[in-house]
Amino acid sequence: MSYRNRLWVGMMVLAASQFAHAEEFEQHGAHVHGAATMKLALEEGNLVVELESPAMNLVGFEHAPATEAERQQVEKAAVLLNKGEELFGLTPAAGCKLLSAEVDGDVFEYDEDGGKHEEAAHDEHEHGDDEDDHDHHEHGHSDIDASYIFECGDAGKLTAVDVLLFKYFPGLKDLDVQVIGPKGQTAIELSPEKHQINL
């Protein structure tokens, strides 16, 4: 896949934050430990997967890591979350390759020196330009967002997505998935026992 192609897919996915409006009311996203949401869209050989989960499910806490152990925990989660090919078992015949993985969350924003710089992280975050992040800091909860873009050589052969997140993150118990596939839109609920999405 060429760079240009990749850019195009990126543009498709980023429908842009296009509102000039001033904030006129507050909104608060839901936050349930153990549960997470995932969105999966497949079109013309491109598979986009978005995961949104309370940090609790993936790293076991929701504050900026304070101790060495916590930092390692976060480190480990970040490495795992970036390995899109391992988190999602795609039908091999479809020949899907991970193009990009993006992982974002408050828990990852800490100082490399090891100091507890929650305040700094917080500050930087509030002024971030990403509209989606507003639901993060409320009530001391924080989420982790991850998004993946795959490109499949023969998307017609992609019949199932096995979500292996449950294996790597035992804190995750319940995953609500919204799917846009060749058969249209649907929703499916996954759990550690039932972790396959049939497209």
Binding site: V9, M12, V13, L14, A15, A16, S17, Q18, F19, H21, A22, E23, E24, F25, Q27, K39, A41, L42, E43, N46, V48, E50, E131, D132, H134, Q178, I180, G184, Q185, T186, A187, I188
Partner: protein, 417 residues
């Protein structure tokens, strides 16, 4: 004479009881299959109502509620949304088309939908089918109306007919917009969806009939002609459908709309909301199927009762059979066959009754409830269930068969009482 024809003759001898037993099994089978058929058809009907729209946007409420009032015309909106917000979303990148929907008025019990001509352009139902006209065409003038197939059929409306819209959604309304009648310019072909039961007018038309209605009742000061020249730009709509260039952008756009700061909006994926609706109704579905399964069990137990209670009277029959050379095991087989035969007949008659009833009830269901229930052929699952019922019938027959076997051993060729 084979044991089969012997069984048949024996049953014919008791034909009233046998027929009643078969009938009770048949009714229970019909109920079970009927519930399953209606359940599947209702699902398919819902799923066929909208296709092609990537998102539905309305005031923030629940996703199922938004789906129900915007697409199925069930229930009402909690809030309207501003034209301004609609325009902003319509102008977002990746948005290919939008269809505004303005609900709240009615005509003789049929909902009136205010929209624009994009509706005829982009609305899809079933397998991506477009709306087609059986007569006339799209609305162009402020006071033009396009009728759904069922509206035209039931009210006997033709092109050119004048239609007065009532304020509110009741069957009988006390506030009519009778100073501003609409003219029928088009009649849509049948779709089997709520479109058939909708009167379509332009958003400007909706705006025009409500001019001077600020207090909730007509002040009667603005004539139809005057209204034409007023500012008919709608300020509020109920919801809108969105189609995108790329399905990949659906979630991003959904998030952008849900985070819109000007107004609390809700963007839903129709397919996902429908799935949510099914999971809510799942419990009721299971309950219905469970009840019908129990009815089938009752039918089979009824058969057991009949055979069992008949045994005593048939001891003479058994004795005669024995005297002409039947062994006790023949008696056993005879009764098993009898039970199996009644179960098979019950199932067959039940299936026949199901199809007859469905075909007969179809027009009535459609005209009274707007519910189109197609008649599905039996599914593999259905056949498996029917097989199970027959098997259960034969097994149930084993109990009286064993009793008769014991009797005939004890009685031999003469009845000892």
């Amino acid at each position: 004479m084979s044991i089969y024809s012997l069984t048949l003759r024996s049953l014919l001898n008791r034909k009233t009881t046998a027929l009643l037993t078969i009938f009770s099994i048949a009714v229970s089978v019909m109920l079970l299959l009927g519930v399953d058929n209606i359940r599947r058809e209702a699902k398919a009907g819902f799923a066929n109502t909208i296709s092609g729209a990537d998102l539905i946007v309305g005031a923030r409420s629940g996703s199922v509620q938004l789906l129900l009032y915007s697409v199925f015309r069930i229930g009402n909106a909690t809030n309207n949304i501003s034209w301004h917000s609609y325009q902003e979303v319509a102008g977002m990148k990746r948005v290919k088309w939008t269809i505004p929907l303005s609900l709240g008025d009615s005509h003789r019990g049929f909902r009136v939908l205010g929209t624009n001509t994009d509706y005829f352009e982009h609305f899809r139902y079933g397998a991506k089918r477009e709306l087609a006209f059986s007569d006339g065409g799209r609305f162009e003038d402020v006071y033009d109306a396009v009728l759904g197939a069922e509206v035209a059929e039931k009210l006997g409306y033709k092109l050119g007919q004048s239609v007065v819209i009532s304020h509110g959604a009741g069957e009988v309304s006390f506030a009519n917009h009778d100073d501003k009648p609409f003219k029928v310019v088009g009649i849509l072909k049948k779709t089997g969806t709520p479109v058939d039961r909708t009167v379509h007018v332009s958003l400007e038309g909706i705006e025009a009939i409500h001019l001077g209605w600020d207090s909730g009742a007509p002040s009667g000061s603005i004539s139809a002609e005057q209204a034409r020249h007023a500012d008919l730009q709608p300020k509020l709509i109920t919801a809108f459908l969105v189609g995108l260039d790329s399905k990949l952008a659906t979630f991003t756009l959904q998030r952008a709309i849900n985070n819109y700061r000007g107004e609390p909006l809700l963007a839903i994926l129709p397919g996902v909301a429908l799935q949510e609706l099914w999971s809510m109704m799942g419990v009721a579905e299971v309950a219905l199927l469970a009840v019908s399964a129990f009815v089938v069990a009752t039918g089979l137990i009824g058969m057991l009762t009949v055979i069992w209670s008949g045994l005593n009277e048939r001891r003479r029959e058994m004795a005669i059979l024995r005297s002409v050379g039947a062994k006790p095991r023949h008696i056993f087989v005879l009764l098993m066959i009898e039970a199996g035969l009644m179960a098979v007949c019950g199932v067959l008659v039940g299936v026949a009754m199901l199809f007859l009833t469905l075909f007969a009830a179809q027009p009535a269901l459609e005209s009274y409830f707007g519910l189109f229930i197609g008649v599905d052929p039996l599914t593999v699952d259905n056949l498996a269930v029917l097989g199970g019922i027959i098997l259960a019938g034969v097994l149930i027959g084993a109990a009286p068969a064993y009793r008769a076997y014991r009797y005939s051993l004890a009685d031999g060729m003469t009845i000892r009482t």
